[in-house]
Symmetry: C2
Subunit: 377 residues, 2 copies
């Protein structure tokens, strides 16, 4: 059930709203006027602000507060303007509580043990591609655990692109957009092994690190080559529990990532802490690639703790107790949250064809937000 | 002239380097080993770290520091490893001073008066497109003032794209990538005016706000329609001088930007302060679009100052003393830094065709960095 307003009263330039749960919020008049939701003040479709915030009269005064629709709305009239504003109680309460238009998906941290118990939660391609409710469910799952397996796709690049387009559009980068990569070792020494790649995140050198990566297996004939995933948020929690001081330093020190290809004229550089937090102190992004870490000298006071923290992070991420190891068979796709989930690959021999693409973090959030507001979740 | 090392001495796990200017830096042994620049430890082309930071011996000890090449290099040998490292003095000093691989371009703040004095500094298309030194000069100019006019392009979409590709690649967004837009009012009431658009920045709803926007005029027959630019950093400085408290609040409060098109399934949301600073307190990004500001309730203590700051920002940005107003004639292109420069447009009547594209901030920085390191600037 939504929030209800019990009463509303004016006090100088404030409108004090008392909620049915007894809590009171003081909304300043200027703010209320600026957030009028009538079609003259807020575009009904785009929700763009139409009211001119900066031309409101200096002596703007709210009058005659009314609780309407059994507490579901607040109505104010404005002087000296002849304007009336109606506010949805639910929206007012969400804003008072600092909430976004939709509630964030609660994240479930995982490790090898919890995954063994809970399973991978694969979703079939068909529903994902055709049913909005199932898409919403799948994207929620992806957000909750930071990865998702889609099963039963055609092993074709067209199918890869269909999945990407179903979610949003493909991100363009220095490497291009959609990729389709075949490593064929059959004509070389069969002893040749395509090397193991340790767990890392992509794009530590990019301001807006790639949000999601897709790995769609189109062909595989050989041995090895399993995909390896690590829940970076789970590793972070482990560090926080074992060594809060190291956690703090990994959250503070901005680490430069670098991508350098002077032949092609590319030299990207971006900086952020291994553990990036929002202004409320919530962990929002893990960035880790020791190969791409650019040269930089942390301050003397924290240098030792920084390296110790990095070492602990590396050790945990490479500990099988924190890893998921899964084979990608043709038609199977792995999508993972590159702001949270580290990925790697076991060494392999043989022929392997993978296709994939990056999708921006903001665009996946956008897609899920729309589905949530539609009531699909 | 570069930095020179006068002497180097070991002190427990530190290597104390004394520079020719008398300054001393204490480099920890672990850090030095981790930053060895030999081809086994650092890939000569990609500069990716090859040394395994986490497998270095616990009893790692630097030995026998040598100043080489008349102070231009430091040489260390390592025990128990049989490894020798050579460090470039210049690079060590840059890292000790917290500098990036290239020096940032000093920004020149501008307003109507300074522009009238200094001119627009247009660059001809030909050199921009064909000569790396001239490209470097132009990108430096763009970085210094936050805008650049390129003159004498073919008035064709191909020419627009050639400029974009000359710098980097076109950013893909929910709107697509390259755009080519014609507004033709000739069949409508000639009194119809394509409305004025006030100064704003694009993409306040995007995590990585568009770095640069290009406006290339392909055709114009009519009156009005001048482009309007404002140096957001100049406005910020004005606010800092007139009202430091408001400056602080505009730098602190994260403002949500929103783009909503539920029909197309898009609902983007991002948050950052109007004046975003880096961890050293330097202003790095201005974000301002009052129409796209999403509903949010700032905390009571700062709400009034927030609106007052917003009002002052709006007033200054709309004050002709802070504006540049320029007509885009066919073949003329305006490129501007959307992290700094607000743009708008005067009302117009007639037919106008513009083409353009966004380029990411990081990709323009990358391009200029490569040109700088090549010595083109």
């Amino acid at each position: 059930m939504g929030s209800l307003i019990r009463s509303a009263a004016l006090d100088a330039s404030l409108c004090n709203v008392t909620w049915s749960d007894g809590h009171t919020t003081a909304f300043p008049a200027l703010w209320l006027r600026d957030h009028c939701g009538c079609p003259d003040c807020l575009h009904p479709e785009t929700h763009q602000r139409l009211v001119d915030t900066f031309s409101l009269p200096d002596d703007l005064t709210p009058q005659d507060p009314q609780v309407a629709d059994n507490g579901r709305a607040l109505i104010l009239t404005w002087s000296p303007e002849r304007h009336s504003s109606r506010y949805d109680a639910d929206l007012l309460r969400r804003l008072a509580d600092g909430k976004e238009p939709t509630d964030p998906v609660a994240k479930t941290l995982w490790d090898a043990a919890t995954l063994a118990e809970e399973g991978l939660g694969e979703v079939p391609a068909e529903g994902f591609l055709s049913d909005d409710d199932l898409l919403a469910e799948a994207l929620t799952k992806l957000d909750r655990r930071g990865f998702l397996f889609v099963e039963g796709l055609d092993p074709t690049p067209e199918a890869t692109q269909a999945v990407a387009r179903r979610i949003s559009y493909i991100r363009e980068t220095i490497f291009g957009g959609f990729w389709d990569f075949t490593a064929n070792m059959e004509h070389k020494d069969t002893a040749y092994t395509t090397l193991e790649i340790g767990p890392h995140t992509d794009g530590t050198y990019s301001f807006d690190g790639p949000g999601y990566q897709m790995f769609h297996c189109l062909a595989f004939e050989g041995t090895g080559g399993e995909s390896l995933l690590v829940d970076g948020f789970r590793v972070a929690r482990e560090i926080q529990e074992r060594a809060p001081d190291l956690y703090r330093v990994l959250g503070e020190i901005a680490v430069p990532g670098q991508y350098l290809d002077h032949e092609r004229g590319v030299h990207l550089l971006a900086k952020r802490p291994v553990l990036r937090h929002d202004s409320d102190g919530a962990l929002i992004q893990v960035s880790y690639n020791n190969h791409d870490r650019a040269a930089f000298l942390p301050d003397r006071e924290r240098l030792e703790a920084f390296y110790e923290g990095l070492r602990l992070f590396h050790r945990l991420a490479n500990d099988p107790a924190f890893q998921m190891i899964e084979r990608l068979a043709p038609g199977r796709m792995l999508i993972f949250d590159n702001w949270r989930t580290l990925h790697g690959r076991k060494a392999y021999q043989g022929k392997r064809r993978l296709a994939g693409a990056y999708i921006n973090k903001e665009d996946v959030e956008s897609r899920l937000r729309v589905l949530q507001l539609k009531g699909a979740v």
